[in-house]
């Protein structure tokens, strides 16, 4: 899976699933010994700048609380940023990202989690639209 897409999906994956998979990877002796923490998980903010449509000007809408972490496994870097203040899960997500880069067997397990996450998001989006579309006002236009 494309690394960018993986980061997007690990950012949205279920917290328990992410931690459980990371826990399983950590029990591999090789992963545990080759793990380097590059940046410990840190809670902080991302300033959201938006471009408004009238003058095409940027302005600051406000800040979003995120947690960020970066690790390496066997020299392969892994990075994660997730909304909220959960340092453990963010560290786990960074670990999964690094493992996916480091080892294709582990990578396919991470991909599975991502695919599953994508399916869940699609279902939610679909369900949301099914509910919403009934609130659209329909007009009968005379042609």
């Amino acid at each position: 899976m494309d690394r960018n897409r993986r980061a997007e999906l690990l950012a949205r994956a279920d917290a328990d699933d992410v931690r459980q998979l990371a826990e399983a990877f950590l029990s591999h002796r090789q992963v545990a010994t080759e793990l380097d923490i590059i940046a410990p998980p840190e809670v902080g903010m991302v300033m959201m700048q938006v471009r408004e449509p009238v003058c095409k000007e940027r302005f600051h809408l406000g800040e979003v609380v995120v947690t960020r972490a970066e690790v390496a496994v066997g020299g392969a870097r892994g990075w994660a940023m997730r909304a909220g203040t959960d340092r453990e899960t963010t560290l786990a997500a960074a670990l999964l990202d690094a493992c996916a880069e480091h080892d294709s067997a582990l990578g396919s397990q991470v991909d599975d989690l991502c695919v599953e996450t994508k399916a869940r998001l699609d279902r939610a989006r679909h369900q949301e639209w099914t509910e919403l579309r009934s609130t659209a006002v329909s007009f009968e236009e005379l042609d």
Binding site: N4, A7, V54
Partner: protein, 373 residues
Amino acid sequence: MGYAAARGGLKAIEAAERLVARERILGESSWLESRQMIEKLRLAVDRVMGEGGLWDEDLAASALRQAEGDSIEAAHLLRSYRSTLPRLAYTTPIDVDDMDVLRRIVPAFRNPPGPQLLGRTTDYTGRLLQTADEDTLRTAAEKMAAFLDEQVTPEVEVGHVVSGAEPTDDERRPRRLLELLRDLDAVVDRRRTDDPEPFDITRHPARPPATRSARLATMARAETGALVNVWYRNILGPDGYLHEITLGEVRHGRLPVKVVHPITGDEISVTEVRVTEVEAIEDLDGIEEDRGRFDVGYGLCFGHNEKKAIAMANLDIACERDKGRSFLEQSILLTTDGLDASGFLEHLKLPHYVTFRSMMERKAAVRRHKETT
């Protein structure tokens, strides 16, 4: 002695804090869960995030509980928390056209391009207080939920999505009315190409004359009631800088939060926030203005808060037209922050006996002067 008894002291303060904390636990009801507030007091949580200038539903709910439901106090808790956090990154400039709408209303046209999507709203519901007992209300709500689930679930199969119900881009990301007005050459073109750096109100005080980005950022985290009041004051109050506008767009939807991936260098979306967006169409009638066209004001804030976004869009265009002639900009920048106004108001509760003694002394001096002349 009276004087000693008037002393506050640490013990009294701590005892007062314990009283508040105890009430969060005590009473007949169970612990108020954050999840409950996020789901069932959604607008209150959204308002706190907007006025706090910080998006995190769990923290906002926690703040609301800690503040016993006082939204300004809760926004204050969020903001003082944010003072302790590092700013890890800026998003890439988020294009507001990337919003997935959850609600979209176009008052300016009956049948605009894209849907008139009512979404989750009580705008058209009679304001009738539900006076039945709670069990009855709960049963009715459960029936309603079951009915809705029945309508929705048959189309969704686990693990795969029925294709026919997929929304088109025109439905989820409808083209904004402003674009239509541009096609019709009915709106003045103020699009800039120089892309100025946005003003950061969290690091520099915004003072008149300010840039538009400073005004928009100020209003995005202004107190809802204050912004509505500045607007209404200008309709019915003594100031009168603006007239009523027509709303082009009222939207509630989700915007992606995009940052640059540090390893690939590419833009990725790490989460979404919900925002309310408004376009306000202004009828230009000034002697120096392009009276053959409209202009447009813009409002955008965190969460679902239509009152705030509408007031913001109105005030944006009003300020643009005012061009610093009146106090409008100063009012917006200096008087709409909930923490500023409430903090100063409430500080009047603090002891003021030194200043009052000084005032008493001057009153006596004026009286003495009157008696001797």
